[in-house]
Structure formats: C-alpha cells, structure tokens
C-alpha cells in the first residue's frame, strides 16, 4: 500500500508540475493590461489625445515588451466627468482586469478615482491632474503622479521675479481649485521674498468671455508684472487682449507656462512675444533625450510635442522601467509601486524620480521667455530650478 501511495503521489506531483509548466509560459506571454482613462470628449479632449500619443510613443520606444510581456492599452473616455470617470475605471478593473491604471487629466475626476483605487490597491498613475491634495493630505500608496503638483509649478517663480526687480504683481487666474492653488503657492514665496501683491482677480473658469473689464482694472493698479494662470481658449484671449489693451508696454506678463503652450502659442500671434513662463516642460529644453523625443514625436504625429505629450511619454517609461525591475511581474502590486520608487531616469524634462514620501514626481522646473523665431514663437529656457520636490503637505504613506 505504501508503494501504491508513493506512486500515486508521484503521479499527482508530476501532473501538478505539468499543469504549472503548461500555465506559466502562456502566463509570461500575457500582455500587461493598462487601463487608460482620459478625456476624449469635452473641454480637455485635446489633452487626452496628446497624452495618449505620448504614452503610445513611450511604450514603442522603451518597450515594446518587458520580460516577454507586451503592453496592451485599453482606453476609456472620462468625458471630464467624475462619475463617468469612476464608472469607466470600475469597468477597467472588474471587467478588463487591468494591471495598472493611467489617468486622468482633470483633478475633479482624479479626486473621484482616488478612494476607489486606494481600496482596490490598483496603482493609478496620474499623467496630468495637478491638485496638491492628491499627493498631499489625500495621498495614497496607490496614486503615483508623473506630471506635477500645482504648487510645484508656481512656487519657484516668487523669489525669481523679486530677484529680477519685479517687486509688485497683480495675480489673475481662472476661478477653480487649480487657479487658487497655483496663486497660493506663488503668493507665499513671493511675499516671503519681499514682493508685494497689489491686486487679485479670479474670473470664472467658463463664463468669462472677455477679459476687458479685468485688464482695465489691472492697468489702473499699475503693477510691475502680472502673474497669470489660464489655459486653452482663455489663455489665447488673455494674452491677445493684454496686448490690445496696451498693458504690454508697461507691465511684464508672466505666468504658469500654459499661458503660452506650444498647442496655441501661434494662435496668439505677436501678442505672445516677451512673456515669462514657468513650467515643467517646454519643447526647446536642450538635452539629448528631449531632442530624440521631439524628433520621434514629430516624425510620428507631424507636430511639436507639448508638455502634455511628454507627461504621457514619461509615464510609459516609468511603467516599463518599474516592470523590468519586477521581471515583468504585475501580480504583486506592492512590489510594482516599490519598484516605481526606485526608478530614476533622465527624460526630456531632465532627471526624474518619484518621491517615496508623497508619490509625487521630483523634477526640474523651467523658466522661459517667448520670442519670435523662424518658425513661429520660440519658448527659450532662461533658467532651470533643479529637482523641485514638494514638502509632504500632510501626506503619510
């Protein structure tokens, strides 16, 4: 009987081993599924498109596979609506069983996703949404940001402007969380450096059709500079009207760099010349990675890569490098996040790491000035603030 038992056991063990062998090769070839939830309709549709193109180019460049596993992107439209974004993410997690999530663009959608991914323990990599709280008070081990925090972008500009002699400014920004957070961070460092803020306006994010009323107010206040945050259609209007109302002659226009994004700086025409911006990326950054990135992107998509495209591109690279550390294994999500903390590389933006204390990116922030060039408006980097790292801001991971 013992002999029979031994034979049986051996047979079972053999069969089990065969079963494992039969499963594991196919398991290694299974693609890494990445759920991408970005806006493909609504006000931020163009940004969703840019980031997706950056992601695709990134996986092409640094993949196309890791440890034998290819990458499969499953895209869903968030429509810039928190409830829609959340239901799309639930579908990606429960139905498609994605390994990782990438998204969204808008912070209100990111806020809606945060608790869900925190409970499900599925890593969410944010390629744009900048709300400070997402890597501050509301941070999560499962929410990693490769783009920026609002404060990270504008904080450096305060002391810099004072040093250049612009010791009085007027603040103007779109009236929503991002506008206020960017102005708060600027105000804090600017006044601490001895600058004085002589007026503030927060026009409605959507309702404002005309900046005329605000520009007349700014002009009457006579600041040395204006520090502004607008993006998209509002940025086009603001920059053009700032010039038309004759403010440019006496007041320096400065702001978070989306004011003169390469996406629309040419639509602003000559009015966009001589503006100071601060941002995590401009196409003209002088390093090898950026040159290679711009060449590849322009060859593939036929236009200059924007600050949004680069955030998608670096997100793809972070994923590839983290998974090559885990040997392509995505089953242990905790190990994947730990690997992301260990990744560091020189990208088009400069050296990048993920801060293990907050999960926010640590990156260079660039100060640039616009000037008319041979083919459209050029954004020339004039200063770089290296390795900007956010304080924990109430985050405990």
């Amino acid at each position: 009987m013992t002999q029979f038992a031994r034979v049986t056991w051996n047979a079972v063990a053999l069969l089990a081993a065969l079963a494992v062998l039969a499963i594991s090769p196919s398991r290694a070839e299974e693609p890494v599924k990445i759920g991408v939830v970005l806006p493909y309709s609504g006000v931020y549709a163009s940004l969703g498109g840019e980031i997706t193109q950056g992601l695709e180019l990134g996986f092409e460049t640094y993949g196309p596979e890791v440890a034998g596993r290819a990458f499969e992107l499953i895209t869903e439209d968030s429509e810039v609506k928190p409830n829609i974004g959340l239901s799309k993410v639930k579908k990606l997690v429960f139905q498609d069983k994605v390994d990782l999530l990438v998204g969204p663009v808008a912070s209100n959608v990111a806020n809606a996703l945060r608790d869900f991914v925190h409970q499900q323990k599925v890593p969410l990599i944010i390629p744009n949404a900048g709300n400070n709280l997402l890597t501050g008070e509301r941070c999560s081990r499962w929410v990693i940001r490769t783009s920026f925090s609002n404060a990270q972008i504008t904080r450096g500009m305060g002391p810099w402007l004072v040093e250049k002699g612009y010791d009085s400014v007027y603040l103007i920004a779109a009236d929503y969380a991002a506008g206020h957070q960017m102005m708060d961070a600027f105000r804090e460092t600017y006044t601490a450096s001895g600058g004085s803020i002589i007026g503030e306006s927060f026009p409605a994010l959507r309702g404002t059709k005309d900046f005329g009323p605000f520009l007349a107010q700014i002009k009457a206040a006579e600041p040395k500079a204006v520090f502004a945050f607008f993006a998209g259609g509002q940025a086009i209007q603001f920059v053009k009207q700032f010039d038309e109302f004759g403010l440019k002659d006496t007041i320096k226009l400065t702001g978070a760099g989306w004011l003169t994004s390469p996406l629309y700086v040419d639509a602003q025409g000559p009015a966009a010349a001589g503006i100071l911006g601060i941002l995590n990326y401009v196409p003209g950054i002088d390093n090898q990675e950026n040159q290679a990135f711009q060449e590849a992107y322009q060859a593939k998509y036929g236009r200059v890569a924007s600050e949004f495209a680069v955030q998608g591109y670096d997100t793809a690279r972070l994923i590839v490098e983290a998974l090559s550390q885990t040997g392509g294994d995505t089953s242990d999500k905790d190990a994947v996040v730990a690997a992301m903390h260990d990744v560091s590389f020189d990208g088009p933006r400069g050296p990048l790491t993920i801060d293990p204390a907050t999960n926010n990116i640590v990156q260079d922030i660039h100060i640039f000035e616009t000037s008319p060039g041979d083919d459209g408006m050029a954004l020339n980097v004039i200063d770089t603030l290296s390795a900007m790292q956010d304080p924990p801001n109430g985050c405990t991971l």
């Binding site: 163009s46 409605a204 005309d210 009323p213 206040a221 086009i236 209007q237 038309e244 004759g246 025409g269």
Partner: protein, 293 residues
C-alpha cells in the same frame, strides 16, 4: 478707481462691445421666437459654425473680409436646410418637442465641429486695418472692438428701417400681430418668415466671425454665450427688435460692470435681473402686443 472717468469710459466701451455681439446673436433668436413661437436652442450652434467657417475661410484665402462676407451666407444656407428639413415639420409640435429637438442639435453640432475642425482652440487675427489700438481719453483701446460696436449699431439701424419701411417688414409685422388674418388677406407669411429665419441665421454666423478675434474659437463656445443670448431674449421681450437691443445693452453692461465691482456675484446679478423682469414684466421690457395673445 470706479469714479475715475477714463476707467469708466473704457468699461463702458467693453460693455457696449459685448452688447453689440449679443445683439447680433440674439436678434435672430428673438425674432424667430416671436414670429414662430419656436425657441431654437441650436441658434448658438449656428454662431459657432459661423466662427469655424470663418476660420477655414481665413486660412484658405488669408482675408478676414472675405470670411466676414461669406461665412454668414454659408450659415444662412445651413439654416435654410435646417428650416426645410426639421423646423417646418415641427411647427405644429408641442414646445417641449421643439426644445428637445433643437437641444439635440446642439450635440450634433458640437460633435460635427469636433470631427471637422478638431479639439484645439483657435483664434482669428483681426484684419490689418483694425489690428492695432487707438487712444480713447488717453487710454489704449483695441480698434477692432470699436468696429464691433459700430457694426452692432449699423445692423440695428438696418433692421429697424427694414422692418418699418419695406414691404417684407410690413408682412413680418402683420404676421407677428395676427398671423391668421395676414394669411387670410393673401400675404405670404410663410415665405416671409422663412426669409427672416435665414436672415437671423446669417446674423448668428456674422456674430461668430466677428467674435473670432475677440473671443477664442473652440468646440463648446456656443453654449456659454447661448445662455447670455437667452437672457437677452427674456429680458428684452421675445419677438421685439427694440427689446433685443435693450436686452443686449442691459446684459452687456451688467456682465461687464458686475465683473468689475463684484466678480463673485456677476452671474448672480445677471440671473437676478432676469428673474426681476420675469416677475414684474413677464412679456419682457418691450413686449410685442399680439392680437391673438
């Protein structure tokens, strides 16, 4: 700062400029509403279409003035098709069905624009003649905005004399007053209304082109301004030319000075104005008197 006369003058011009654009946009909406009892929510879509067609024309011909002349015609043609295919069939339908049908058209228009022109924001350059700025009371003011104000006044005068002095105007007035009787005495009210509808669409297209250099062009530019145009119609009184002019002026000024004095309450003040008018004068400030109510 508010008592500074030059500051006030500049803001007054800003208000007039917005009023002028709103007038161009809402006069078509208002007259169609008054004539046909039909609230065309897709009117803003025609405005957006005017801006985008203008953008394409400027790109193709490099001439703002060609876009200025042709885009309204193109939008009028779209309006004519819209009238024949949909509006004419729905005239007997309940107001709710009309509202829903034109509301649906807003989304059709939005996605069509995104499909044809993409998601990016654009702007039109002002024509060279008007691109610079002029000095108004020692303050720099964009020349183009003065042109917008002038255009609004010219269109108002043309419409006024057109309605008062021409045969078409007389038919339209008769049709608004008492449609049955006008038809009974042999006036072709139907045809007159069709022409007026197309003209209103052309004005919406014109507003779109003219807005191009002041406001930026993006998918959804129609929705934010449609709300203001609807307020203009309600405040001024549906169907009345003078009402549309007065409503546009009021809304333009309240919007502009509201943003200067109390930006947080600017939209509240606007809606409060509308509510006040609805309570005190439900027919609008200058209502059209109708024989059959």
């Amino acid at each position: 700062m508010l008592l500074d006369p030059t500051f006030l003058a500049i803001q007054l011009l800003n208000g007039l400029q917005l009023a002028s654009l709103l007038f161009l946009l809402s006069v078509g909406l208002s007259v169609v509403f008054g004539l046909m009892n039909f609230i065309n929510l897709a009117h803003g879509t025609l405005y957006m279409l005017g801006a985008y067609i203008g953008l394409s024309l400027v790109r193709a011909t490099d001439s703002f003035w060609l876009a200025f002349a042709l885009a309204p015609l193109a939008v009028a043609a779209v309006g004519a098709v819209f009238h024949v295919v949909l509006l004419r069939r729905m005239q007997a339908a309940s107001p709710m069905r009309q509202v829903l049908a034109t509301f649906g058209l807003i989304f059709v228009g939005l996605d069509s624009v995104r499909y044809i022109w993409g998601d990016y924001s654009h702007a039109l350059a002002a024509p060279e003649l008007l691109a610079g700025s002029v000095q108004v009371l020692g303050q720099t003011y964009p020349t183009y905005r003065l042109f917008v104000i002038g255009l609004g006044i010219i269109v108002l005068l043309v419409l006024y004399f057109g309605l008062e002095r021409t045969r078409l105007g007389a038919i339209v007035r008769a049709g608004v007053d008492d449609r049955e009787t006008a038809t009974a005495i042999g006036l072709n009210v139907e045809r007159a209304f069709f022409l007026v509808f197309c003209f209103g669409c052309a004005l919406a297209g014109l507003a779109g082109v003219v807005a191009g250099p002041v406001l930026s062009i993006f998918p959804g530019m129609d929705i934010s301004i449609l709300i203001l145009a609807l307020i203009v119609v309600v405040v001024g009184g549906p169907g009345s030319l003078k009402g549309a002019a007065l409503g546009a002026l009021l809304v333009g000024m309240v919007e502009t000075f509201g943003q200067v004095i109390a930006p947080e309450y600017a939209s509240v003040v606007l809606y409060a104005l509308m509510a006040l008018v609805l309570v005190l004068r439900p027919g609008g400030l200058i209502p059209v008197s109708k024989a059959h109510g």
